[in-house]
Subunit: 342 residues, 4 copies
């Protein structure tokens, strides 16, 4: 079989490990040949490909990013986009297409499968861990580790100066990274989109610690957490508009905490550091498992499905499961953090 | 309730995170008081304890080792040992005892529960990940990461010199660390106790790579892997006896590979570096979850049970499950590594 | 002799290693006794001290922050402040005072020495490496490493997405961290306070790379770099005032680069992560050397002097040298980075 | 000018950074062209080369090892070896040769320069930091950091178990790595080739700590340290010969310490992990400086010289200086460690 591979959406540690496993297992076990599609769906729209043989995937296991490049291009937003993709797939002689990406990328893959009969296999990818259909996705563990390392570093500086340190981490819709990094880093409060929490209650935690003789606190906040009551909102005028949009929730929360507690309050926004660089061991193993399983799904022509981690087992589910619903942090997980700051 | 806590057996990253969670959750949720028992069961035999309040567990989440100390003392190997332990438990006024340890420690806990009615709760601990009754134990992920970091470093030196690098990792009876670190590090062969493999087949892998133009190889071997046929055995004379016992399987394998392939072959024995130092984020979250759940088991007087990870859920099982059988690397997990060197 | 020790100004990896060395060398070699002054000069104003014996400094070598706490309190800005400090020093029976800090802290120490005859010894501290009188200060190497690790991670994400990544690092008046991290991380442009550079020339570098087929760039900028021509200035209105002040040079530069090149441009502001956490090996050795030398200066009553690294040798200079002039990045050092993006 | 580049001897973090800087600075500043010689002098004997243009050195700054490969081949040990090298150099049309290596590699370069008039420029390389003519060499700082990280990890396990941990680090003739890592890691004793020390005095340190209530110790030993009195010598018989040679000083010392103190004593031999993998920031900056300076020496035809770090300045010295004498750890450096265990 001749198999195309593409990566779409934001990058994530472990993408190269998936690509390597699809190629190596596909070749060694099933005699597959592979074609690399450049920059996600854009590569199919523009017919941009790269060879993907044993040599191409040698030495990439530990490398961050994706050797195929990526983009957020969605063919369904372009006139004739899907048809162009299908034409390219046929021109390339592909029997199957492995699409590694998030909700958007997998959604396109599913439609190409359902509407045009393309033999797609999905591999779920999200640094935020917000995809249903799998317990975890690769990249998440690495992101949590990077955030935890930062919190560890901030602890010593917070202690030495009697400061409140606010750490804004990734998580647009859900608080997985904040929750895990907050537990691992021993944060004093964790603010996530799933759980409304008033700024006053955060300030109360800080003051309660103060009364116990602890004059520093670490607050972890997901970028997608919504501050209540409009407090801390940035005033946007007609000229400053674009610039101010960059002031994320971390900075706005800091302003409020500073005003209400009087504590010296500093912000760290980790940003893209969380999604770059070498994947940790766990993400390499998971990504390798996903890639190997994807090759098997291709061989078995079990199309329309995506790889999935269930407990300690790698299995597969219909792609539709992944895109059905956002996976939120369950209360019992979040509760692990709560006794430590309640 | 008044709760004793002890750590037994080899140390492991995450022990302090467990202790901290038992104390914090026990105090905040259930009003428990805690007593620290020093050096495992020895502390009960010799009545050596330390206070364990909020202050004692502050700032220990990220620290390796155990603030309680540990030992391999087994009261059942001493005349009157169990009775002394029980007497100390009663003298200390303990309503429950949380025992954090491996097969041996948990085995003692279970007997004290069954024979003397002591209210024990177990928390499984094994760097080797060889305990049944739980999918994973804390410390394992950190050990795999340390071994993977070492393999990453060895890769560059192997490549530059056309060398065979052998990395001996922990795993006396099972090959979990070797398998995961081998997959994550992209090893060219992985030798584990569960799977006999001849030295000749290892050499054949090395030579096959050589024929493909790759003049270096990385071999990961569990310390408990048995070399077949007595080859590479160390000659032990009456004087050299004790000294030679330190020559582990890595060194003996290197000798054989060197002789049979002619390749410059070097050995790294990671040793105790794998079990020391700060736990990674995943192990801190898991250890915190185990500690919190142990506090709950105490409160509910569900004695004779130990905490357990099943899938992504923290639950509990009878202690007897953990000590029943060695948990081996399943063939499908090992197979993840195989296509890459078969 | 009875010796007081204090740490002032911002914290910095290695402070505890200095404290430990002053105490251990002072005790073992010279029979000194030590008193810890809490939170810099504030501890002398408010007579807040802690015992500082062998036990107090055990296990702190690798810990970030400062066990003594720190503050930016300057007694010379308070009515009667210096006299209060002197009175406390006498009441504590101190024969000497080791002041570990930056320009401000050392300046106070020098005045107390000159005006009141207090036996002070200085240890220079600045994460920015901007103090004259010493080639390097501890903490700088660790900060450079942290910034370099971040750049390494951002490289993979920049490559995968065809992005411009801007990294804002510490350096209010000088560009040492930006220059060293930029060289070490292979940045495509480095902007430092010492060297005016137009945004247009930065954009030209980015476009030149684009013409060579490289659609990503990494720009490192010191927080103290001044953007020319008012471009990218934040409009500050009467309400938004305080909030906008947090928008540092990185965000403002990103806005301009985005507008002028059309490239997707992202910002990472490392902030306090750079000054927290465990010092690297080099900083521990340097801090230990400074502490040991400070103890010797105390014993020899060579007051008014501070420790200094010259080449590979630890020596001492008058405190006045440190506070005389800002140490700037010399052109030949910066030139190391230039060929790589000229 | 047309410039050949080769790397000889053991690999070392930073080699690729040197190669990259020689090529980039040589091209951008001076219009040089470059030829990569494979595997040190062997590449000249066997005329094995690789192209070395801008593309070849892109993305290698942070990679360990050497993209050129290396070997210990010395042309002067072969009949007609030097003449073959010279013939290859002429056939390749090289105007200059940059030789990156240790005493052996630089010695060959010097002889080719003196005996045949080849335009060589040297760049000193030694993980052990034992070359005269330069304060430090790249790779050393990374090796010290790796050893320090290991000591940090071993500390927690030593403490938890009341153990003596022996760490054997690189250093065949000198103790630079042991001294710096020992100071940085807070070792309780440091054994280096430059300073004879009896096993009894090591044991006395351990027992003195025991009397002070500290039941664990960390001992760092250079691989080249000679145990006095033949104690701990391995009995070598005619069959066991080769195998036993692998039992380094760490294992033999452990045997003696165990026998004399009765403490549980464990050994970690870090081995090649110390020389592989990504260079730290400091080594990348130093290696880049060396490479840039080597390009300049080539342009100025200042042959027979090698790059050198003096204080904080990169300069150059005659190659003969480097190979004249072993650079030993000066007593005042070692003394930094002494108060902590005397």
């Amino acid at each position: 079989m001749r198999v195309g591979i593409l990566t779409g959406g934001g990058d994530c540690p472990g993408l190269n490990a998936v690509i390597r496993a699809v190629v190596r297992v596909g070749r060694a076990r099933f005699g597959h040949e592979h074609v690399g599609i450049r920059r996600g769906w854009r590569g199919l729209l523009e017919n941009e490909t790269v060879p993907l043989d044993a040599r191409a995937v040698s030495g990439i296991l530990h490398r961050g990013g994706t050797i195929l490049g990526t983009s957020r291009t969605n063919p369904y937003t372009r006139e004739g986009g899907p048809e162009t993709c299908v034409a390219t797939i046929r021109a390339l002689g592909l029997d199957a297409l492995v699409a590694i990406g998030g909700e958007d990328t997998l959604g396109v893959a599913l439609r190409l499968h359902e509407e045009f009969g393309i033999g797609v296999v999905g591999v779920p990818k999200t640094i935020d861990n917000d995809l249903s259909g799998t317990d975890y996705t690769f990249g998440f563990s690495t992101a949590v580790q990077i955030a935890t390392d930062a919190i560890d570093r901030l602890h010593t500086t917070a202690e030495s100066h009697d400061r409140v340190m606010i750490v804004e981490v990734m998580g647009r819709h859900v608080g997985w990274i904040a929750t895990h990094a907050g537990i691992a880093g021993g944060a004093d409060a964790i603010l996530i989109p799933e759980r409304p929490m008033s700024v006053d209650s955060v300030c109360e935690t800080i003051m309660a610690r103060h009364r116990m003789g602890k004059d520093f606190s670490i607050i972890v906040v997901s970028e997608g957490f919504e501050l209540e009551g409009g407090g801390g909102e940035v005033e946007v005028d007609e000229f400053g508009h674009k610039r101010l949009a960059e002031l994320g929730v971390g900075h706005r929360l800091a302003q409020l905490v500073r005003e209400r507690t009087g504590f010296d309050t500093r912000v760290t926004v980790l940003g893209h550091v969380q999604r770059g660089g070498t994947p940790n061991a766990r993400d390499r193993v998971l990504a390798t498992g996903f890639g190997a399983h994807a090759a098997k799904l291709v061989e078995q022509r079990r199309f329309g499905r995506m790889t999935s981690l269930r407990g300690d087992t790698i299995t597969d589910v219909p792609i539709s499961e992944a895109v059905a619903e956002l996976k939120r942090v369950p209360p019992e997980r979040y509760a692990l953090a709560v006794p430590f700051f309640e």
